[in-house]
């Protein structure tokens, strides 16, 4: 399979999967697209279908209602696909850990490439996380 390298990181299509979040992370993600941070200048854009996506942006503490849905969405994406856990809930579930309805942090369900902690992470933190990943992948292919 094609590995994720320079050719990919110049153009990332992002699919935003909200898995029972409190919506704060989602608002910060929208801030990244808005004029102040404008990630389209880095070649990233939001897409509507997981078939088009290179990046799966997951927010929220995954609960029993959405656990099979996020698995299905991950299977539906065209590979290679980067999974990004945005916010402390997706990274480690913080206060929802061992709750009666959550199904463990995201990396127990699907393989995660980037962790961006914060409650919610600032847009700068999200962009910094993606930039670090892009840098680490520069000479991978």
């Amino acid at each position: 399979m094609q590995s994720i390298d320079n050719k990919f990181t110049k153009s990332l299509f992002v699919f935003h999967a909200a898995c029972s979040p409190c919506n704060n992370c989602d608002i910060e993600i929208l801030d990244c697209i808005a004029p102040k941070y404008d990630i389209e200048r880095l070649g990233m854009q939001l897409v509507g279908s997981p078939r088009h996506a290179d990046v799966l942006l997951v927010t929220g503490a995954v609960n029993k209602k959405v656990v099979h849905r996020i698995k299905m969405i991950y299977e539906q994406t065209a590979k290679p696909c980067v999974v990004v856990a945005v916010g402390s809930c997706a990274c480690s579930e913080i206060i929802f850990r061992e709750s009666y309805n959550t199904c463990g942090p995201l990396d127990k369900i699907i393989p995660v490439d980037i962790y961006i902690p914060g409650c919610p992470p600032r847009p700068e933190a999200i962009i910094a996380g993606l930039a670090k990943y892009i840098k680490s992948r520069k000479n991978a292919g």
Binding site: Q2, K10, S11, P35, D38, G48, S49, R51, D54, K79
Partner: protein, 308 residues
């Protein structure tokens, strides 16, 4: 001698004004579109090579063929659409450069090829066995029914004014008598056809068949990898050939490079319309095209017949 003729055919279809030209200019124009959109929204916008990076990446990605769908229709549909674009661009640009080579009825070929693109997208979407895609396909079908009527009546205006159904004769008539849009009927038909090509290209406010935020990409929802890249190339190059077609029909002048100036003005109008209007519902579009646009184009047709 035959060998050279064959080579020139290959050159026409693969390089200029064929595949390479429509793809390269399509990427450039889609960059202009995205950049102007970004500037209108007070953003910085993507870099010049961004459409090229997008397409290159999509060609490297996995292609998923949906299970239970019709495999070959799904694969062939985007290619048919791209071939139609290449044929349109060949006829429009080649005969604009050299009107004497035109054959009678080529304008009808172009109209059919323009209709083949939405038909291909309907076939591809229906073959994917996805409910969102079938929703997109049904909207695309209604949209086609909506805009084809006023579009054809608009195209009738230059045909009536020049008395010919060949592109070459229409262009030559305009070189001698001035562009058609200088007359009252020509101007009405030209303005109406701008809205028709906006719907033809599937650009906001007529993007109901794709509608990313509503039906997740509609007709394109199941496409991935190289096939999605071909669809994106079709959309990009349609942004080049569709405005050029109506410009050649209505605004050819003695100053040959003038169509590019008109083209960029038209492109700017299309982009500003895109950024200042929300998406229409399909019933609103249908009503709009069958009342306002149809009446406007019928008026143009009557004016053209009576000689204005």
């Amino acid at each position: 001698m035959e060998k050279i003729e064959l080579l020139s055919y290959f050159f026409d279809y693969l390089v200029f004004p064929g595949l390479l030209f429509v793809v390269a200019s399509g990427m450039l124009v889609s960059w202009i579109d995205r950049k102007i959109t970004a500037r209108l929204q007070w953003r910085v916008g993507p870099g010049l090579l961004q459409p090229y990076y997008d397409i290159r990446k999509l060609f490297l990605k996995e292609v998923i063929i949906p299970e239970g769908g019709n495999k070959w229709s799904f694969i062939i549909a985007p290619m048919c659409a791209l071939i139609s674009i290449v044929i349109i661009s060949n006829i429009v640009l080649k005969y604009y450069i050299d009107p004497s080579g035109s054959f009678v009825g080529d304008i009808i070929v172009v109209i059919y090829m323009f209709a083949a693109i939405p038909v291909a997208s309907i076939i591809g979407a229906s073959a994917s066995k996805n409910p969102y895609a079938s929703l997109g396909a049904s909207r695309e079908m209604k949209s086609m029914l909506a805009y084809e009527l006023p579009f054809l009546m608009c195209i009738m205006v230059p045909v009536i004014k020049t008395g010919s159904i060949s592109m070459g004769a229409i262009i030559q008539h305009q070189l001698q008598n001035g562009p058609i849009f200088m007359s009252l009927s020509g101007l009405t038909a030209f303005i109406t056809s701008i809205f028709c090509i906006q719907a033809k290209m599937g650009i906001v406010p007529f993007d109901y068949s794709e509608a990313e935020t509503e039906i997740c990409g509609g007709v394109l929802v199941e496409y991935s990898g190289a096939l999605l890249a071909i669809w994106k190339l079709v959309k990009m190059s349609l942004l080049v050939v569709a405005p050029l077609f109506i410009i050649v029909l209505f605004a050819s002048t003695g100053f040959r490079a003038g169509i590019f100036a008109v083209y960029f003005v038209l492109l700017l109008i299309v982009i500003i319309l895109k950024n200042t209007n929300p998406r229409l519902r399909i019933d609103q579009a249908l009503r709009g095209f069958w009342t306002y646009a149809a009446v406007a184009s019928l008026t143009a047709l009557v004016l053209a017949v009576t000689g204005y």
